[in-house]
């Protein structure tokens, strides 16, 4: 199909498609004449993936490119590919909080990880975010999540196991890798939306009109 048809099939405007082609997110079409390229189903599928990462998960274009390259080369170990997807979901900035709150949060997280027997790199970006967030909650006097961290981790570990269960059904290494990366990133949006709906419902029952 031509670029106009590709645009129609995916709902992505032609200038946006051209931008993804220039940035190397989308592989070039097959030249059918010197000025005419032809696109196939793989392009439709890739475009849908790009849009989902950008629109739903707010992944920056440069990071989408890295993720797609890592999927395409397929030589990177699966665990490293997951690490790459994780970095796309983790804020890179650090947060200042009081030294006491940070020290307490660090100890709490170390104890949590030891108690659960989690295998986590000491420089995992999510570790920094978890400590920062707990320190911020402590500093702001919000003790609810802080005192229930282990119960939170129980429920969340349950989600993570469901997710892994879902991806390990994939028969090939390629499909497994794609599934892990997409699942990690879009899974976050899915979980966020479910959480907000559950909260809205509980809040409506408790507080509507108050």
């Amino acid at each position: 199909m031509r670029i106009g048809e590709l645009s129609k099939a995916t709902g992505v405007p032609v200038p946006t498609i051209k931008y993804y082609l220039r940035e190397g997110l989308l592989p070039a079409g097959e030249l059918s004449s010197p000025n005419q390229a032809s696109y196939g189903d793989a392009h439709v599928r890739r475009l849908r993936l790009i849009r989902a990462l950008i629109e739903l998960a707010n992944v920056p274009v440069a990071t989408v490119k890295e993720i797609l390259e890592s999927l395409d080369t397929n030589s990177e170990p699966l665990h490293d590919q997951i690490g790459r997807a994780h970095r796309a979901l983790t804020p890179t900035r650090r947060l200042n909080s009081t030294e006491d709150a940070r020290a307490a949060a660090t100890t709490q997280v170390q104890e949590l990880i030891a108690a659960r027997g989690w295998t986590v790199e000491p420089d995992a970006p999510a570790l920094v975010t978890l400590i920062d967030t707990l320190a911020a909650l402590r500093t702001l006097g919000q003790d609810g999540p802080v005192s229930r961290l282990d119960d939170y981790a129980d429920a969340i570990e349950q989600v993570a196991r469901l997710e892994i269960e879902g991806v390990t059904e994939n028969p090939t290494r390629e499909q497994l890798a794609e599934s892990v990366v997409i699942g990690t990133i879009l899974g976050e949006t899915l979980i966020s939306a479910l959480r907000l709906l559950a909260q809205e419902s509980i809040s409506a029952d408790l507080w509507k009109g108050r």
Copy 2:
């Protein structure tokens, strides 16, 4: 304290503090002389809250301002304040997906909500995000989360109940509102970080070196 001391106490640079003052995120200090303002503990606390929302949860400055105003007036019903915090966490853009995938996702979400007895507004932004995400996963051939949606919802509802349990301990209406809004927004960062750590650990056990 003076603005320089406020900066020292919070680690926020003076030009950034001045920006928040201009934008109305931070209330003006008390004038101690025509050119000198004095700031107190409430400013320290407010600055920490602003930074946490912006740095950890990527909330845009304009939305932070809305949220703070809603907390300060305190006349808005609690349920509406939660709705405001929810909107800060929900992508506003829609995603194109195939009509079949969208129809299937819409039906699945309606059935989920009916089965769980959730009270959710038909135009809740998270509802749109949930449908969009499920439609994208279907379109991309990722059936794992789609076929386990109800189990995901079980685990997430558990988290949402823990969160509400944590905030209802607050004795005053003001503290409750603050707790709900901060908890909703920073809770998302907390849950995201816990999920990524759980995934990293499961992935390390299964796939490290593969």
